[in-house]
């Protein structure tokens, strides 16, 4: 009897001792940009946890700090972040450095259907040199958001030059900044200027991948950009970021902003921006083209197969049509055409049609291993030109030479 009790006790102790090892749930850690898209997904995480038993924790950070934090993790033997949110600007760098796992085996194994994904999005933030390293998460193509009440009966001008004139006149006459501009050196001004470049008919690279920035169109674009910063934008535009511009628009202090189209639902929210809600609209950039952008999901190479599988389970779930539609109903910027065209989504947000046009007309910043450094090189020249410390001609020449050098380095 006593021996049996001892045996039972030992067995229980062994079971209790080992229980945590196999009962411990998997937790995925993701470094996420602190934007509404993240908040929307975060609110749905309990649902995923309930379905799969996998925990997901988001650490939210401003964009500018994300790259360095991810790079330091990915260069180590093991990454704390086992689920990655990858910007399209790093979509060349991360696979080139060998930090991302190839997702094609996961797609094949789970029979995940890639057909509904917008091809431009898969090319921008999915494939790299033939491999599939990311699954598109959301798009952030850029367009023009403007105040309909300040424009009154007038229509938006069709060309970039006319838009800059309008911006200047708004600043002079309407008592608001004509444009809330995010012209801080680096990512903010590079992204913003790209819209001016594409709207003027300029390109970073030609169809053969050769540098095409040193062109009359690029000079026109930069001339207009400098003019807008100096005479149409808010005070302090050269140190302003995306957050600053959003606050200005929300606070009824600006007529327009060249920005990510998903800012519209934020500005149109009467709770968040009561002064301007119902008075804002979205348009394709005057000139017909704006900057394309997007984020993708990736899985670090330096992770165990179990964690990689768990990360894939999450990606498969969060980018399924059902979840994407649910996200879109809360303001998500879709990457699947079947979500853009879903009747319930269009019924709630009629301007998703305009958004689809913005996405469709978007053109991309050069994606290669040194995209992040190129933003810095270009951003410095743009800032120097906008501050009047260098000429438009010299800035374009230096920016084109910088792109040429980095392209060579990457090759």
């Amino acid at each position: 009897m006593r021996a049996n009790a001892l045996l039972l006790g030992t067995a229980c102790a062994v079971l209790l001792g080992t229980a945590p090892a196999w009962a411990e749930p998997i937790t995925l850690h993701a470094l996420m940009e602190d934007v509404p898209e993240t908040t929307i997904i975060e609110a749905m995480l309990p649902e995923f946890q309930k379905e799969t038993g996998i925990n997901v924790e988001f650490q939210k950070l401003v964009y500018s700090d994300m790259h360095d934090k991810l790079v330091t993790q990915l260069t180590g033997p093991e990454s704390y972040y086992n689920l990655l949110e990858v910007d399209f600007l790093w979509a060349g760098e991360f696979p080139a450095a060998g930090w991302l796992a190839d997702l094609q085996p996961f797609v094949d194994k789970s029979k995940f259907n890639l057909q509904p994904f917008i091809p431009a999005m898969l090319d921008l933030v999915g494939r790299y040199k033939g491999g599939l390293y990311m699954i598109p998460m959301y798009n952030y193509s850029m367009g023009l958001i403007y105040r309909t009440d300040l424009l009154k009966d007038a229509k938006l001008p069709p060309t970039l030059g006319d838009y800059v004139e309008l911006v200047k006149s708004m600043k002079a006459k309407a008592g608001v900044a004509g444009a809330a501009m995010q012209s801080q050196r680096g990512d903010p001004n590079s992204m913003e200027f790209s819209n001016f470049l594409f709207a003027s008919g300029g390109r970073y690279l030609d169809d053969n991948g050769k540098v095409a920035l040193d062109s009359p169109e690029a000079r026109t674009a930069l001339k207009l950009y400098v003019d807008a910063v100096q005479h149409g934008a808010q005070e302090g535009a050269l140190s302003a970021t995306l957050d600053d511009t959003l606050r200005l628009m929300c606070d009824d202090k600006a007529f327009s902003m060249v920005t990510y189209w998903w800012m519209l639902p934020q500005l149109d929210d009467a709770k968040k921006c009561p002064s301007v809600a119902g008075k804002v609209a979205l348009s394709v950039m005057p000139g017909g083209h704006g900057e394309s952008g997007g984020w993708g999901w990736g899985i670090p190479k330096n992770e165990s197969p179990e964690l990689q599988q768990a990360a894939w389970t999450f990606i498969e779930w969060v980018q399924s049509k059902k979840v994407e539609v649910a996200r879109a109903l809360q303001g998500h910027a879709p990457v699947r055409s079947d979500v853009f065209e879903a009747p319930e989504v269009l019924a709630k947000y009629p301007y998703y049609k305009a958004a689809e046009a913005v996405v469709a007309s978007g053109m991309a910043f050069p994606v290669f291993a040194y995209s992040a450094q190129y933003e810095d090189v270009l951003g410095t020249q743009l800032s120097l030109a906008a501050a009047g410390q260098t000429s438009v001609d010299a800035a374009i020449k230096a920016a084109a030479a910088g792109l040429e050098n980095l392209k060579k380095k990457a090759e």
Binding site: A97, R185, G186, E235, R247, K253, A369, Q373, T380
Partner: protein, 319 residues
């Protein structure tokens, strides 16, 4: 004669026996001083090891990086790059701009912190009541991380929605483009830095002033010296060692400034606040070139070491 020679030999032998210890005891005695040294090293070993691990290893690794081909896309030290990374850094036209800005920034902030710190410390030296309260308030900026300080000041200096411009506008002075103007951004960042760092200078100088002897002042007062003369000929010379240390510590701190620039301006507008540490960061993390970043950091280290040595030499000679 023979006896005298024998006696001499005996004395010599005795002397030699004293000089040359015999047997194991004598051998230990001969090594006495070395053993003491060995024991000393044993006691010092944990500290030395810690310094080697914490400071020596990273420094050696940084040197190796600076002389290597390691980038984030090529994560190997080989092949040896010699001085190529230094040459690449120096060849960049923005390097010299960054160096110039760093030197100007460091000299201005240290000078401002010292002058302001001394004025406040002298005032506090005369305060009798509520001294602990003043010191407690002074430690607040010092206890804040530079990133938090940067974020707070970024909001305060915001040209359209910031409090400072709001107050200035209400006073009829109009808003100021603090961080977006190439003329003002440098001074705005430096001003925020002084705001945070001056507390440290005040505390050190106040401690130095409190430790000065009273007798020279009493003698000077009897001789009819004015307050200015007492300050000029007693306080300043007696405070020189404390001042020297304070200035050196602050000079090193300011040369390493990075966080404030990162949060407030990202080196802009243009390149007006592009200090050397931010330049190194851009090379290392945006350019993925850890080797070039390390080389630039090493240049920064050499400059700081040179300045520190020069400052020590000057103050020691004067002392």
């Amino acid at each position: 004669m023979i006896d005298a020679v024998g006696a001499t030999r005996n004395v010599t032998r005795r002397a030699e026996s004293v000089r040359r210890p015999q047997g194991s005891r004598r051998w230990w005695r001969a090594l006495g001083p070395s053993r003491a040294r060995l024991t000393g090293w044993k006691f010092a070993a944990p500290g030395v090891l810690l310094i080697v691990l914490v400071m020596g290893f990273p420094l050696a690794y940084a040197i190796a990086l600076a002389l290597s081909s390691m980038t984030l896309l090529h994560p190997h030290l080989a092949p040896f790059a010699g001085l190529d990374n230094f040459a690449a850094a120096v060849a960049d036209p923005f390097f010299w701009n960054s160096l110039r800005i760093t030197v100007a920034y460091s000299l201005f902030t240290v000078a401002a912190e010292y002058v302001l710190g001394l004025v406040v410390a002298l005032g506090l030296n005369k305060v009798v009541r509520l001294k602990p309260v003043y010191f407690a308030i002074l430690t607040v900026p010092m206890a804040m991380s530079p990133v938090s300080v940067g974020l707070v000041w970024h909001m305060l200096l915001q040209p359209n929605l910031g409090i400072i411009n709001h107050v200035l506008s209400n006073l009829g002075l109009g808003g100021v483009n603090w961080l977006g103007s190439t003329r003002l951004a440098f001074w705005a960042v430096a001003g925020v830095d002084v705001w945070q760092q001056v507390s440290f200078v005040i505390l050190i100088l106040a401690a130095g002033l409190a430790s000065l002897p009273k007798e020279p002042y009493e003698a000077a007062a009897i001789d009819g010296a004015t307050s200015w003369q007492q300050f000029r000929y007693l306080t300043l010379p007696m405070l020189r060692p404390v001042s020297a240390i304070t200035i050196i510590i602050q000079l090193i701190n300011e040369f390493r400034t990075y966080d404030l620039v990162y949060v407030l301006t990202r080196g802009g507008p243009g390149v007006s606040t592009d200090i050397l540490s931010y330049f190194a960061y851009r090379r290392a993390f945006l350019g993925l070139a850890l080797n070039e970043g390390a080389a630039i950091s090493f240049v920064l280290l050499l400059i700081v070491l040179g300045l520190t040595a020069a400052f020590f030499a000057v103050t020691t000679r004067r002392s």
